[in-house]
Symmetry: D2
Subunit: 147 residues, 4 copies
């Protein structure tokens, strides 16, 4: 078996992201993929809001979860799938601004279990504020779905 190139890994992540119906529904875009670090951007709009007009914690979570999941997936074999085991997220400040930027970073890669750091920033012009922070546990499973 030949090892994947970084370009192949990035392509594999982009293909999988394109299959997530929720990301398209929310209007989220995959803005950066590096080994162990993935960034997703979500424009603010009324369709993703909570009752006070800020971005809903559920939308913030969705992009944070996907960013962390794909960050872990960049370090897993092509023949595996990645599943979120659990995550925890603190909402630090209202998710106001022009758009959100979620960043998932692998804290500990593992053959079975990986752990990621999750950060979400609200961006408005040249202002960038941390509005959510968390930690996520993921599992790598063989492509046949067994675990």
């Amino acid at each position: 078996m030949t090892a994947e190139t970084t370009d192949e890994i990035i392509a594999r992540v982009r293909d999988s992201f394109a299959q997530q119906g929720l990301m398209a529904l929310l209007g989220a875009e995959l803005t950066d993929v590096e080994l162990g670090r993935v960034q997703i951007r979500l424009p603010s709009r009324p369709e993703v809001s909570q009752q006070h007009g800020y971005v809903h914690a559920g939308a913030t979570s969705a992009i944070a979860d996907s960013a962390g999941g794909y960050a872990a997936y960049t370090l897993m074999p092509a023949t595996s799938e990645v599943l979120t085991v659990e995550y925890k997220l603190n909402l630090l400040a209202p998710a106001a601004g022009d758009h959100l930027e979620a960043i998932g970073t692998v804290l500990r890669p593992g053959r079975t279990i990986s752990v990621c750091q999750l950060e979400v920033f609200a961006v408005e012009g040249d202002q960038r504020k941390l509005v959510a922070a968390g930690q996520q546990t993921l599992i790598s499973i063989p492509d046949d779905g067994s675990r």
Copy 2:
């Protein structure tokens, strides 16, 4: 000041839910509101999926977070607002099925801090399976937004 009736509390929760743009976008409905317990239903459809066709953890989280938030809000004064401080969710099994049912239940009500239990079931015909479980911390803040 006259105490709110249960009907007024339920109306207050329904009004707030109706203002969450994200719930409408996802297609989520508020199916039951009781004091200390709220249920939200989300039909499965490709628009809320992850890459394997199951409901995305972000959509699961969104309805779990709203269910817990409104469960806590039923026990808070009408002049307050509720904010999620943080939550943790374990994804126990693939969110397959006809629809999801998220239930938020207040575990510890408080003047400032409340804690809720979060459960999400996947329902298919008469089958009902726990697919996510978690815990959420909320804060009650005066309506003027100070905290």
Copy 3:
């Protein structure tokens, strides 16, 4: 291979507990072991306190973590080991009282990953109050330590 009897499983849990130096140091006792549910008792005393005289969150966590870990271990094969992947605990009220009672209950058993509910009660005479609640993820690994 012959399946373990319930008595053998309980003996295996008791043997492992007896090897946890920390439980002895804290003065914690294993008070009940059932399949999927374990209870640990910790008498209150100044040696396990925080700065206000209540039981320290660290001691509360220690017995909650061990209760959950052993609850999961009762459902794992004898040839495996159990490790805590992560846990989350809400401290709901001051851990006052004569002693604490931690209960770990398996929410989702799994071949690799198990999830437990954690509860800690403060007991004073016939009063029993929930003072901490949480959720824990565990992994079963082959006895040779690989994962």
Copy 4:
């Protein structure tokens, strides 16, 4: 009212730490106090172990919780008390080594709610390995205990 000096804040933290019976029982020491960042050291010994001889997750948690709590407390008024609302900790690797070093760092200070990052390193000679990472929510309450 005169603002506290940094020395007064550090003294206030050291006084409170000295009142935590559990830290003395475990053999934990407060090794560094800065504004928004606190470090605690725990020597490895059989009395703080789990069943495989590594430091018990409960002991790891105890020093992580205290480090985060005191980090938040350095940024709170002298007339307040600090309580842990909840925390989540991932155990990333066996807590082996000569001693552990827990570091609590304030991620978001707040008038009511503060959030800290928790890190625990295992140290052996000049090797230093991250063995646990987590996130903690704290509340500042007036000294009279009301909340």
